[in-house]
Structure formats: C-alpha cells, structure tokens
Symmetry: C2
Subunit: 93 residues, 2 copies
Amino acid sequence: MIRLLADPLRAQIVDLLAQGPACTCHLVADTGAKQPNVSGHLRQLRDAGLVVAEPHGRFTYYRLLPEALEAAAAQLTELAARARTNAGSRREC
Amino acid sequence: MIRLLADPLRAQIVDLLAQGPACTCHLVADTGAKQPNVSGHLRQLRDAGLVVAEPHGRFTYYRLLPEALEAAAAQLTELAARARTNAGSRREC
DNA sequence: TGGTTACATCATGTCGTGCTGATATCAGAC
DNA sequence: GTCTGATATCAGCACGACATGATGTAACCA
C-alpha cells in the first residue's frame, strides 16, 4: 500500500486530496497531467482503499481516507520500535 | 524516501534489519537473493539515510535508523490529519 | 434527440528499475 | 606474498509500470 505513494504523480494527487475532496477535473487541472493518466492513478488508489469515489451527477468526487494513511504510519512506527529495541542484538557471522 | 519501501526485496531487507543489525551475508542467506542484488539495495537504503554501514573487519554490518522510519511515519500521520480536517471542504466544479 | 462535458477503459509505445554474471577491492589466514 | 572469503561495482538484459491517443459510456442541457 505504501508502494502507491512511490509514484510522484500519485503522491501529488494524494497531497491534493488531503486539502479536501475534489473531482477528477480539479486533479487534472492542478497536476497538469492528462485525464486518462489521472483517472488510472485514481483507480489504483481506489482499489487499494486509500480513496473513495463519490459520484455526484456527472462529476466524481474523490475523498481521501485518513484511516488508510494512519494504518501505514502505524506500520512504519511499529517497525521503528522493533528496530530500536533490537538495536543491540547484532547477529554474528 | 517512502518509495524505497515499495520494492518487495528492499522491504524484506528493512524488515530483517528491524530484528537487529546484520551483515550482508546474513541478508543474502535470509532473502535468498544474489549478493550483488542485496548489496545494491543496501546502497540505496544507505544513500537515503535509512541504514548505516558499520565495517567490522571484512564484514559490513548494517543497522536500521529508527528515526528515518519515524520521520516517514510522521509525514503520513500529518497527511492523514490534514485530510481529516479538510474532509468537509469540498471544492465545487 | 442530438450535442457537450466529465469520466473510464483500452491498446500501444517508452522508459525506468530491478536482476544477474562478471569483475574489482579489501581484509584476514596461512 | 598468496589464497580465500566478504563485499562492492559495472555492463547488459528483461520486465513492468507509466504516459498517451483513441475510444466508450453516462449524465446534463438545448
């Protein structure tokens, strides 16, 4: 799921969505990317459960799910904690 | 920096290092990957400041830096917080 | 009903990135 | 000094993901 944030354009889309829900046309305008490209990235984010699509007439609003980001953050924090507690136990060759 | 955790093998290496510092030969054995491959990934992690190399004779021990992981986690948490506070401000078309 | 707009999907080309084999370096053992 | 083992670097290749143009679909408006 973290892998989704690796792509620059996808990270930018996530960042824009953190400023509030927006429809595809906004994201296309703000990123400068082509519409099919943005749409494809939104699909990936949706499939991963990072965003939800809310159709309103012919517009589709996308909303970021904070829980998903927090879950990823917790995963990293837990990893950091493990690294810190095990910092002293070096495996000898 | 988060992009480094996107690659499966690199993520596995980070996970192994979270169990304690280890040398390259351990990581090669545990992952089953070829030595130049592991060495290359360690270089990327080192360049990004996620791990540090501690040469001991002809062995090189790698140690995970929890601060780097925590910084990435904080970044995600901050993004989630922004998304939560701005959840109501939908941009109209 | 025809046209326009917003959005999604598909097929294709391109490019980055990871993997590998070969090779170099460096430290320790003899 | 020579040999061996641990690690790093390099060149080439292959695969996957991204970007794009073309096309399809659905909703609104005249």
